[in-house]
Symmetry: C2
Subunit: 800 residues, 2 copies
């Protein structure tokens, strides 16, 4: 059973490879098309190469830090470094594959659009499918692979006790941390890249020189098209890769906690006694196969299809896969979990504070249903607030008639007010999934929601591919029908981009909650009390960080765009014949500016994200604060970041999306004060201003919030064992004091002592793992002692 | 000693009256000036009248709700209704007095400006002083007066026990709730009023008709000038009145808690055993006298003085009063508190959770110093981010050159990034003041900061008076020198307005923290654990409310401004000769629109503010949640509102202030890309767009956050006793079971039984207060019993 999810992931990857070969076999078009496509491909590779250089340095630095943690914390093993490096590598690999397939599918989509719309959809969605399955497959394969490895390494492939499983999972957290670190680079750097190129290209090209979008004479146009891939494909992919891994990991940690609550051993329940830990992986594995089924349903027949039919095809695939996940969850949950004998600790009111409750496996299924439903509803709410023709967008359109200021106020208001239903939904989701099955329920709600990640990503990645295909059609001067067909796909892609962002926030928020819960169990604190002043202070600081992070990301875009503007202006002035199409623009210079700016500007936000939790974990020690209090402070910080980050993510994404579609509304014409108003009107100009403000909101700072909140909680999780009270100095060398009697038929093979010091003076818990050969058979026993230090020592001595 | 603060408040009010007579004796100018001033005065009165009508309804409704609370909760007495009504009345009275003096000082300032600048400053600051002392005097008088009343009524003017003092303070909370409710109407309604009038007047007058600001031909100009008074004078006054009262109250509640921690009786320490409770009132009283001294120092000599000198005069008054408060705090704290014997419960790490520590009175002084310093530094940070010529504003100016979009992005970034230092300061303030003296220290930090309220308000109110004076000079066509002089005062007033907003946020934030701490002591919960899912869910909901509240306030301004625009357009079209100055605009119609819109649009935000805490307190009961858990949930909500509210207040105020000054920078000309750029340039137009977006930010939604967070915490405080586990049904009628032996020289006068049920089953605490005449002397005794219900009943029976 433990190999099942990995096997399913491999099936997903094989299908991905088959699909990839099919896409690559498609006609890649002729001369000019190929040339442009090659430019985009090379630009994307240039970004990846520069990024990898920086990443390598980062991974080395982080590995050293992890080595220090592993050295000082007995429950953290050096293997965390290996897991971290592979997490980073897998995430980068997924991004690399995604970028490559996206930049190669775009031109094939243009070529296919010369034939028919169904063909173009097939090709572009095929590219998206490759991306989706690549990300999901690598995520599940990596996580389950390392779990199997560590499970065998630390526990010999058999259940021993929850403490050893904690070591397995803490080491596994390295994989998740590696993945999320790459996501920081990809999402934040990608967000800055794409908007710097976009704004720069528009400001000089469209506004100053008066040439259309995607015009090959514009030196920044290749950077702009590369940006779509860097931001929307690689950034989104890394984001969801990180969420996927973190969610499943958090659910596994909480699954281990359930086993602890049930007495520490449920081997009698089957599944090697690790059913609750395997379940989230099984759901993830099933999700991959289900996503394949979903992608197969996405197809249209008519060559004259419009947006609605394409959208419908995508919706069918999406909803079928969501429903199948619900069905699969039901069978997996009732199969793998003890039906009515699970006990969980619940926080309740009153003085006792904590209560053990017995819950049925059906409860866990209900919790996962909560996640699936909330994921769907949040996407719907996002669509309402940002959708074309919906009330909020129409109100922004109306407010454009009185100028840019009223347009801006209306857009900001829309983003702000959109937090109402989204946050209430989250609150209900937390409440309900916890009520059903405790924090394990919350984590499984997130896991079930994330199970369709491959499908979601396929839908998401198809948008920028179609967008690029349109750009290539424009630049290579194809027949208008080609552009019309890619425009239909692009338009649908814009809608899926908005709902995809809703899905990404929802997943990030639930993931963070699950990690937050896992954090508390790792540190061993029994709650986070914000009535303690230092904890409250950290709640404030945590609330502030997303706001400052957003501001930094936004002004980064401004700075990078200004550099781009200067470069484009220079080329227009210095390259002879560039405006007549005889001189060749230096695309690579613009690509280089975006690349360098993205990676440089990303550093400060990155330092804040990683630095704050570390400072909070270590600075108070100087003031003599106890570890348990510091753990609560860090928990308060995490909660502050999560609450504020989710709010600002929703606010910025929805405001940006609404502004974008308010501007687009003018393309078909809108009725303002009884008059049809079109592109070029003053109201349209006001709407363009709003859209420009919204661009960094929805594509840079907004989506970055996802990474910020997840990475903050993950760093907390990795630091957690340090705060849990384990430090090297506290472990007396007890090797010599542990005596295991060796007799004729009983021989000592190995003994290992772990001792952790609790916060109270001289109160210790010691674990002694003894392996011996008994009548030729290998037997492993773990002895646990709790009490005053001297007492424990003497007890440990007694082991015979 | 108990009468001292009230006496100081009365001295302050007498001084106010003297100052008021002096101001009223100043020359009120001639025909046209007087006519315009009368219009403004009447407009202000019209708003007050409409507001009072709505207020009366609200006060009646709230009184009924409070009656219900008093009925069901034994520790809440019916007198809370009286306190509430007087709190509302005093706050309204202070606002009324402030508005009247401000609208009468304005024309006198114009008249004085015809003579000299020092005279004009004297008059306008004199008006501000009247306002400041009126608000502070009434606040201290009302609070201390009711405390004396309740102390005598419930405790006979002598220390009995902390439980009875809790009843006194819970009843006193009604006064604070009344005051803060009025602040909701004044601040939010006022904010909508002033911006609706301002935007409406500008859009049609300046932009469409091309007539200057404050032109008497503009029908909305009177409403605009009334708005300055409604928003900046009455709104700010009510805001600080509420903060002042709430802060002192919270400190008193926590002072009572200290006495409890010290064993419940410290009469041996002098001050009737209520030193820690009296101290915050004493500091407030001293602050009034100190503020009078401060105002006396504000004067300039030279008639040719510029902004810098006027600013310096204000700064001297301000800083002297702040330093004097620090000195006074030192003497009061060391005099009134036990020097080294105070014990306080502190939350610490580890399993015990709670620890009693002994602290010295000097620690409390240090805590109050923290408040004073943070208040000053936050004002300085605010000035940096919004000040003319400072880096952030200059950066917005530079970004205006590339259009409105980049101006908006730069302004938003500035507001967002400005949260960094402000929030870190708060975090340090919470941390440090708590480390010095627990939550009593946090409350005293707030009290010490608020002690200079009278001085702060004098500085604040002087700004809009000068602004109005300039308007009157313009409308009555005075010599240019008059306008020049009022412009100097107005310009200084703009700076003080920004720092005043910083002070108001800081005070609101610290007040909320103090109330938050008081809430926890009232409910009897031992912390707020955000690891409990329902509490975490409420933290999310609380974080969302300020965002939605801000959106509602912003869009209210938009709606009301549109109404105003239509009315002004109508008058321009329909009134013959209006543009030639021969037709008379119907000022009152515009005033009526602003008034009605303000009061109508205020309702929904008001309902959200008041409704959410009530729903959270009662809805979960339907699901069978325990009171203690509900109390934690409400606490989580309060924390969410406070953290998010403070963030959004800083963000909106500073962004708005920075946009405003970026626009103003163009008046003197700014250097952009090596070229001097002035009013009328494209960059200036972009800056005007930013300022229009910033207007509702800094004058409506931003300042409303203060009220939202304070009122939320106050409502929590009033609901707290209900959640503390007291409900009518739990109180057995024990009247007949209490037996007090009556003998020859001992006669029963009255006995009162209070019994509260704790959360554990059948575990009760009963208080029996018996008053009897003993040898002709009246003796009051309180008996307290804790234990199982039956046991307590039998004990109570034993009272002989």
């Amino acid at each position: 059973m433990i190999y099942m999810p990995a096997a399913l992931a491999i099936i997903g990857l094989i299908y991905m490879w088959v699909k990839r070969s099919w896409v690559m076999k498609q006609d890649a078009g002729d001369g000019k098309m190929k040339e442009i496509s090659d430019h985009i491909y090379e630009g994307a590779l240039a970004f990846l190469k520069a990024e990898y250089k920086l990443l390598t340095l980062f991974v080395i630095g982080a590995s050293v830090a992890l080595a220090a943690i592993a050295y000082f914390v007995p429950t953290t093993h050096y293997l965390i470094i290996v897991a971290f490096i592979f997490g980073a590598f897998f995430s980068a690999l997924a991004g690399n594959m995604g970028m490559k397939i996206a930049t190669q599918t775009n031109v094939r989509t243009t070529q296919a659009a010369r034939t028919s719309l169904p063909k173009a959809l097939n090709v572009s969605f095929g590219g998206g499918t490759v991306m989706g399955l690549g990300v999901a497959g690598l995520a599940v394969l990596g996580l389950t692979g390392f779990f199997i490895l560590f499970f065998n390494y630390f526990m010999g492939g058999e259940w021993t006790n929850t403490e050893q499983m904690t070591i397995v999972l803490e080491t596994l957290a390295g994989f998740s941390l590696g993945a999320e670190s790459i996501a920081l680079f990809a999402r934040v750097g990608g967000g800055i890249y794409t908007k710097a190129a976009d704004v720069g290209a528009d400001l000089v090209g469209k506004v100053e020189a008066g040439i259309p979008e995607d015009d090959p004479r514009n030196p920044a146009t290749i950077a702009d098209n590369v940006g779509d891939n860097v931001g929307d494909v690689a950034g989104m992919g890394a984001d969801l890769f990180g969420s996927y891994v973190a969610t499943v990991l958090a659910a596994m940690v909480l699954g281990n906690y359930i086993i602890k609550d049930m007495g520490g051993d449920i081997t009698s329940e089957g599944f090697g006694g690790i059913g609750p830990i395997l379940l989230p992986m099984a759901i993830a594995g099933a999700g991959i196969i289900i996503s394949i089924i979903g992608t197969l349903l996405v197809r249209i027949k008519s060559n004259d299809a419009k947006e609605a039919e394409v959208q419908k095809a995508l919706n069918i695939g999406n909803w079928v896969s969501i429903i199948l996940v619900a069905v699969a969850s039901y069978f997996l949950v009732t199969w793998m979990l003890p039906a009515n004998s699970m006990t969980m600790g619940f926080f309740v009111g009153g003085e006792e504070g904590f209560e053990m409750k017995t819950i049925s496996s059906l409860n866990v299924f209900y919790a996962s249903l909560v996640g699936i439903i909330v994921g769907g509803v949040i996407s719907a709410v996002t669509e309402y607030y940002t959708g074309l023709g919906k009330k909020p967008v129409m109100s922004i359109v109306q407010n454009s008639s009185t100028g840019a200021a009223t347009n801006i106020i209306a857009g900001l208001s829309t983003g702000m007010i959109s937090t109402f239903y989204s946050i209430l939904l989250f609150a209900v989701a937390i409440w309900a999934s916890y009520a059903f099955a405790g924090f394990y329920g919350v984590a499984l709600a997130a896991s079930a929601m994330m199970a369709t990640t491959a499908m979601q990503l396929a839908i998401d990645a198809f948008g920028p591919i179609a967008d690029n295909a349109g750009g290539i059609a424009e630049m290579s001067e194809q027949e208008p029908i080609v552009r019309e067909r890619t425009d239909i796909l692009d338009s649908v892609g814009n809608t899926t981009a908005a709902t995809g962002k809703g899905f990404a926030i929802a997943s990030a928020a639930l993931t963070s909650l699950a990690l937050f819960a896992a954090y508390v169990t790792f540190t061993g604190i029994d709650g986070i009390n914000i009535f303690k002043a230092p904890v409250l202070a950290m709640l404030f600081v945590g609330g502030m960080v997303p706001v400052v992070f957003s501001a930094l990301a936004m002004s980064s875009v401004g700075k990078a765009a200004m550099q781009m503007v200067r470069e484009v202006r220079r080329q227009f002035k210095e390259i002879p014949g560039i405006m007549e199409g005889t001189g060749k623009p230096e695309y690579d210079k613009c690509v280089a500016i975006s690349t360098e700016a993205a990676l440089k500007e990303m550093l400060l936000p990155g330092v804040i994200t990683i630095g704050f939790p570390i400072v909070i974990a270590f600075l108070p020690r100087i003031f003599g604060y106890e570890n348990m209090l510091i753990a609560e402070m860090l928990g308060g910080y995490m909660a502050g970041v999560t609450v504020s980050g989710v709010l600002w993510a929703i606010f910025q994404n929805n405001a940006g999306g609404a502004w974008d579609n308010a501007k687009k509304s003018f393309e078909a014409g809108v009725m303002i004060n009884g008059e049809m108003t079109y592109k070029g009107s003053d109201a349209h100009k006001a709407a363009v201003t709003g859209d420009t403000v919204g661009d960094p909101f929805k594509d840079t700072s907004g989506p970055s919030m996802n990474i910020l909140i997840k990475l903050t909680c993950l760093i907390g999780l990795v630091i957690a064992p340090i705060l849990g009270g384990h430090t090297e100095g506290d472990i007396p060398n007890m090797d010599e004091t542990v005596m295991v009697s060796e007799g004729a038929d009983s021989k000592l093979i190995s003994k290992e002592v772990k001792m952790e010091k609790k916060t109270e003076d001289d109160f210790v818990t010691a674990y002694v793992v003894v392996t011996r050969s008994d009548n030729g058979e290998e037997v492993t026993e773990t002895f646990e002692f709790e009490g005053a230090e001297l007492e424990v020592r003497s007890k440990v001595d007694e082991i015979k």
